[in-house]
């Protein structure tokens, strides 16, 4: 039994967490607001598409995934007041107009024969961009000051990876001809170009490139 009075180092030798982080409180809140908006748009779309897809297995997966993204939106909604944004709706917005255009293009397919396009938009474009944005945030924020955001990011990333795998396997199982490969690729390219203009989930600098130095950030 150790001596209860003996001083111990506040950080154990194996605890390598660092104080500096790339994001100020304001920048973190701005990103979290964009995450919430994007997750909201995604779960709304997944919910809407359920009635439009004839494939029973896809229908059920969309139902399960719809909830996961709603839960992510809820986590971000609850995080905003903790980042000094007492009116979460103020920051729950698209990062720019190109992102609005992306959502419009993503949710365009409705006909029952367009399941491939619906899934490609979500699982080959939108979710990979979520994974990038969340990973960048996780790897660059302060391990200590922003620990609550990191905890949510880890939970959410686990969902995103699982859903991406589910979705990709559904797409592969639905694509049966070279023409369908072309269809999937064309739709993916169209959406990627819009998202390129948007700069990613949180706009320019989503994954670091073109990131402006934000006031209060410690790099």
């Amino acid at each position: 039994m150790a001596d209860a009075k003996k001083p111990r180092a506040p950080f154990a030798p194996w605890d390598r967490r660092e104080l500096p982080g790339l994001f100020s409180v304001e920048e973190s809140a701005r990103r979290v607001g964009a995450y919430k908006w994007c997750e909201l748009k995604l779960f709304e779309a997944l919910g809407g598409w359920i009635a439009t897809v004839p494939e029973l297995d896809v229908k059920m997966r969309l139902g399960a995934h719809c909830y996961k993204h709603a839960w992510h939106a809820e986590l971000w909604h609850k995080r905003l007041p903790e980042l000094r944004e007492m009116n979460p709706d103020r920051l729950s917005v698209a990062p720019n107009e190109d992102m609005v255009s992306f959502i419009a293009a993503l949710t365009e397919p409705e006909a029952p024969e367009l399941t491939i396009e619906k899934l490609v938009g979500v699982y080959r474009v939108f979710i990979p961009h979520f994974i990038s944005a969340y990973t960048f945030h996780l790897n660059n924020t302060s391990d200590i000051t922003d620990a609550p955001t990191m905890r949510s990011l880890r939970f959410i990333l686990q969902d995103e990876f699982e859903d991406w795998r589910d979705g990709e396997m559904l797409i592969q199982s639905l694509i049966e001809t070279p023409a369908e490969v072309d269809r999937a690729a064309a739709h993916q390219a169209r959406l990627e170009k819009i998202l390129l203009a948007a700069g990613g989930i949180t706009g320019s600098g989503t994954i670091g490139f073109n990131t402006l130095k934000h006031e209060g950030a410690l790099a």
């Binding site: 909201l40 997944l46 059920m60 139902g63 709706d89």
Partner: protein
């Protein structure tokens, strides 16, 4: 993708055969029974009934397609209304949660149908549940779907759970009990949101409750669900209480259901007389 999706466009594979309530009511077989005896004293789905297996399989298929439509309806509520303006963010979160629950119910129903020896598409799919989810007011959807139809689901799952219990089918009893827990949650969601959103809008609340009453009556068609043993499905008072119904509300549904049963019996006698 459009806002507000018409019932006739619901996407299905080729195994499904969809019918509307009008189709069902126009079907002579549902009005004229070849059994010339008066109504059985007990129609409740119990293992001792001669046609219990087929009746249970048919009901299970009805649950299966009902769960698909409930999944689609909850999903559409996530999409059809603008967040914050037409439907609160938190309400949509609840609807998304319901999507996940209903998706699991579809999975459970498929497994149970297989267990009971039936196949997808073996029975027709009545699309009336989704029709109740097409209102342009989210409060009416909550009243019609969460309170009326999910309330019926509580009755159905209770009946099926008891069927499994009496038949010694633990597989069925286990799964129905889990689905029953979810349905109580969904009905409570409907009750809570209805009260919250219409707190200062009595007219809207009345409209929603009237709509619920219409759906309740529609689903009491033929006395399929009532407290009488003549109805195949019972009224699960205890679980309805847990879901936020008060005694008066349950009494109203009980009376409505019994009246529907009596109407049905009279109609059958009349049809038989005309047939003979």
């Amino acid at each position: 993708m459009r806002k507000f999706f018409p019932v006739e466009d619901l996407a299905r594979d080729e195994r499904f055969n969809q019918i509307t309530m009008d189709d069902r009511m126009a079907d002579q077989r549902t009005a004229i029974t070849t059994d010339s005896r008066p109504s059985r004293a007990a129609n409740r789905i119990v293992p001792s009934r001669g046609d219990a297996s087929d009746a249970a399989r048919g009901l299970m298929h009805g649950i299966f397609v009902g769960e698909i439509q409930a999944l689609e309806g909850a999903g559409r509520t996530c999409w059809d209304f603008t967040t914050g303006e037409e439907a609160p963010f938190e309400l949509k979160l609840d609807m998304a949660r319901q999507c996940w629950d209903e998706a699991r119910h579809v999975e459970i129903s498929i497994k149970l149908s297989d267990w009971m020896g039936s196949e997808i598409g073996e029975y027709a799919e009545n699309t009336v549940l989704f029709q109740a989810a097409c209102s342009n007011d989210p409060v009416l959807r909550l009243a019609g779907v969460n309170r009326a139809l999910e309330g019926l689901a509580i009755d159905v799952f209770t009946t099926m759970k008891e069927f499994g219990e009496v038949a010694g089918d633990q597989y069925l009893e286990f799964a129905e009990d889990w689905m029953l827990a979810d349905e109580v949650t969904h009905v409570k969601m409907g009750s809570d949101w209805l009260r919250k959103i219409t707190e200062n809008d009595p007219e809207r609340r009345k409209k929603a409750l009237d709509f619920q009453s219409v759906v309740d009556k529609l689903f009491s068609y033929g006395g399929t669900r009532s407290e009488s043993q003549e109805s195949p499905i019972g009224l699960a008072r205890r679980f309805r209480e847990l879901a936020g119904f008060d005694d008066q509300e349950i009494d109203v549904i009980a009376d409505l259901s019994l009246a529907a049963l009596e109407e049905r019996k009279a109609a059958v006698l009349e049809a038989q007389a005309a047939h003979n």
